[in-house]
Subunit: 325 residues, 2 copies
């Protein structure tokens, strides 16, 4: 008796837990569900909640393989969650073996940036590329590499940390402890803070942005900055351009070092409008080695929030194939 050809995809997303079921080779979910991971949740809560969700989707059937995207550093080779920056209790959890025991099926796991890179590469904006760099720009900035048609994780599963390359040695302090990392300048909360600081220091500017938050400067988010910039607010435009330029500078460095065929940008901050995109592309170009042969494109992600989940499908496919070798 052969196992049914269902692949189970799980996404431990930090603020959201998602499970989906897909037929091997298909491009549409058979079933898909998400629920929020409430503030204060721990690893145990996340696991039992997501497993209950998976059981509901499976309705008694067994998947032929399981793929997992995890929102934090993992050792993919060892199947180990190293840490979550959002949810406590995830230190050194052998999640792959636990899930393998639970489902009796092969499980493959990776961090969310690598999973999203795989998802966009196989099903999204990176289709047909031999090499791509997927970068997510949201509350943090992270990346995942597909090189010569395979995921590249690095010696310690830490490759892709474009958020923590330094682009302004005198820039703001980053959560990593150094100054002027891409993340400290280009991540949503960080450039929203920059806008707040400027609004407080310069009472005469930023009228549109002030109005958007009814004068409550503490409430300013990256989305407000982007909307005010689109409406022509000078302060918002300057802040947005500064953030986009820092990201573009970092991308130019990554492109010069690795010469990927395509760079795919995902995450909430990439919805910041035309000015943001134009600035990112211009800064990347200005900071890329100028040779006529360098042909990279920088394009928006296609799968939105589902990129890690589709990546988990690719991981599950790999796990299933590995078993049948």
């Amino acid at each position: 008796m052969t196992a049914p050809p269902w692949l189970l995809a799980l996404d431990f997303g930090g603020t959201k837990l998602s499970a989906a079921l897909v037929e091997a080779g298909a491009r549409e979910w058979r079933a898909r569900r998400s629920i929020p991971s409430p503030p204060g949740a721990d690893a145990r809560y996340d696991q039992s909640t997501l497993l209950a969700l998976a059981d509901e989707l499976l309705a008694g059937e067994r998947p032929c393989a399981v793929g997992v995207s995890f929102g934090g550093p993992v050792n993919a080779g060892a199947g180990l969650v190293i840490l979550s920056h959002h949810v406590r209790g995830w230190e050194n959890i052998p999640l792959r073996d636990q899930l393998q025991a639970r489902f009796g099926r092969p499980v493959s796991m990776d961090n969310d940036a690598n999973a999203a890179a795989l998802g966009e590469w196989k099903f999204g904006a990176g289709r047909g590329c031999a090499s791509l760099f997927y970068v997510t720009v949201s509350t943090g900035v992270g990346g995942g590499w597909i090189l010569d048609g395979r995921i590249y994780r690095g010696a310690d599963s830490l490759a892709g940390e474009i958020g923590h390359i330094i682009v302004e040695p005198d820039g703001p302090i980053c959560i990593c402890g150094r100054r002027g990392c891409v993340e400290s300048l280009a991540a949503g909360p960080n450039f929203a803070r920059r806008a707040r600081e400027r609004l407080m220091a310069e009472p005469a500017v930023g009228a549109v942005l002030r109005e958007l938050v009814s004068g409550n400067l503490e409430a300013v988010t990256a989305e407000h900055v982007a909307r005010a910039a689109e409406a022509g607010d000078e302060l918002a435009r300057e802040v947005l351009v500064g953030a986009a330029r820092a990201l573009g500078f970092g991308l130019g460095t990554a492109i010069t070092l690795m010469n990927p065929q395509r760079v795919v940008l995902g995450g909430g901050v990439t919805k910041s409008g035309e000015l943001w995109w134009r600035t990112v592309r211009e800064a990347a170009r200005a900071n890329t080695l100028r040779v006529p042969e360098m042909t990279v494109e920088i394009v928006p992600a296609a799968l939105e929030d589902d990129a890690p989940l589709w990546g988990a499908v690719v991981l599950a496919e790999g796990a299933a194939e590995f078993q049948t070798l």
Copy 2:
């Protein structure tokens, strides 16, 4: 009748032409010869000279495959030399097909940084590494990636250009047209020039360095700077530290982005002594994302000038295997 198991390795080195013959699987040359490529030589001269050298080594035998290292950008997939920065007449030369026709054997070719990376990885300081970044620091700064046990060339055969990532946006103009690239600060001729400029501007300092060139400041080379620094000359130490720091900063960025297991540094400038090495390592560490899992080592190359030639051997082995598939 099977072909004799000789592999022919050729190195078009810009200032030097080398050929060597090695038995497949061996670690010592059966024969090896180099001759200088004189100033004013062109592509035709280089080719006929190196082919004559190869014929001499072969003494009527036929190699089973040929590997080629070329000192300049190549399209490895197409077997095309794009350009030489040193020798004229190399624009768009289908060198692989020409050599294949000449020897009637499979030929594989790559640029010298990639070839040296392959050589160090298979026979030198990178043995046993799944991933490494080879960086040559000499009249220029270039790099080659071995990732997950394979050479990674990039979408346009341009990966590894660490010499042209920007580390000081207000730094000196680089030959690439931008400012503050690693190469503009860390390459030998560039930091020698920096030393000369300081010697001219500050007549009271740099006594040791001045003495080394008998007061002829135009004669100052990177080697003089390194020797003066070892002898305690403050100006030379400062210039050397500045150059090493720029390189280390760039390496930290590359390490954060790619998490290689090992970084191998080759080229003449790496003979600059303990201060240079310590500064490179410290600057790289300071500019690398600080997580306990990141375990990179930065080590000296082991094969000296022969690294590209040994890399050509690896390329020849690959070409021979490809043919027997």
